[in-house]
Amino acid sequence: MSWLAKIKSRSISVLPIQAGGCRGCLLQFFLSLSLYSEIKGITVTGNPGQADLLLITGCINEQSKKAILEIYEKIPEPKAVISIGACSCSGSLFKKEGKGIYAAEDILPVDAWVRGCTPNPEEIPGTIVRAVECAYEKVK
């Protein structure tokens, strides 16, 4: 990995989206930022124009799908998408209930997944950094 890509991936703005569900995954994400100080430089933003990574949690339904696609379009390249938790990774048990529930990879090109209900917060910061590094590598 080039030194320039490494430098650029030391400042990561994450745009978290709660697509639907219990919010447990989102809590784990915020917990991971405050607990694990060896991973630095990750900030949370609410502005798609300033984001580098789209973090999707929860079950995606028809309404949230439309919003997520709209937000994804507004994030400037290079960008990465990660899916956190069982609901956004696979639709979990809610997918069995009927149509209209999507996994993140059904609607967007997902770069990384952190599975589990709820996901392990230790894995989240490392996954974010690696996903963004890969996005910069792809551009190169």
Binding site: K8, R10, G41, V44, N47, G49, Q50, E77
Partner: protein, 283 residues
Amino acid sequence: MLNMILWFAGIILSVFIIHLLISYLKSLFPGQGKTYILQPFYRLMKLASKKNAASQPLIQWFSAGALWFSLTALWLTVSGWNIVYIFSILIIAELFIIAGASGTNNSFGLMAVQRRISGFSITCFTLMVAASSIYKVTGTLNLGGILTMTRNKLLILRLPFTFISMIMVILVEEGVCWFDLGISGKSMSFIDTGLYSAYNGWCLAVIQLTQWVKTGIWLKFISVFLPWPQWISFTVSILIYAVLMVSDAFVAKTGWKKAVLNGFIWAGGASVINYIWLYLANI
């Protein structure tokens, strides 16, 4: 000429370094995200390499124009030009940023523009009164002339409230402490970057540079009031700025309308008090 070039480069570099320090110190507080020491530099590099995904036209020109005019104002500042002329150019730079931001379709961006204009009116009023007070004491509005008289006339003793109002202006411009027009207690957290919501990618990097240059100009203005040699005065003004920026982490936030009122009372009020005092004491 060499002296001016050194000051020009030195001001930009010193503001950059002080932002590295402030960013790192703030990250050490409990509950804050951990950052690298060079975090603002990494962010700038990242933004500069990103594409601009803005949908509205002319956004690149607005950001480039803002940087151009702020650099011009900085050059005129180190050259010792008329302060009213420098303020005018700074106002143009600010208007470029506001015009770019108002082009966004984002309602939060438009809300941020409204708040920025409120802050801008505080700055303009305070500077207008401050310039009158400075002229009353020194008889000149040229920055070079004021600098030569700083020690003889002891500006800090004759214009103490104007000095305080200039510090308040910096806080209003940066939107910190009691003058946080961006993040207010009643708004959503992502309002803090609302003014820049129209900018992204390399345009945002340019706006970030503009912000640093403007901070450098304000710090140079503050240093004019201090009686020591120029570089010592500038270092002192940087330290004052750093302390205030870090203290932002401790200050309770208020609603934006209260922040605007605070701005007018503290910055505008201090400036007016000094102006009246000059006439009453017949200095």
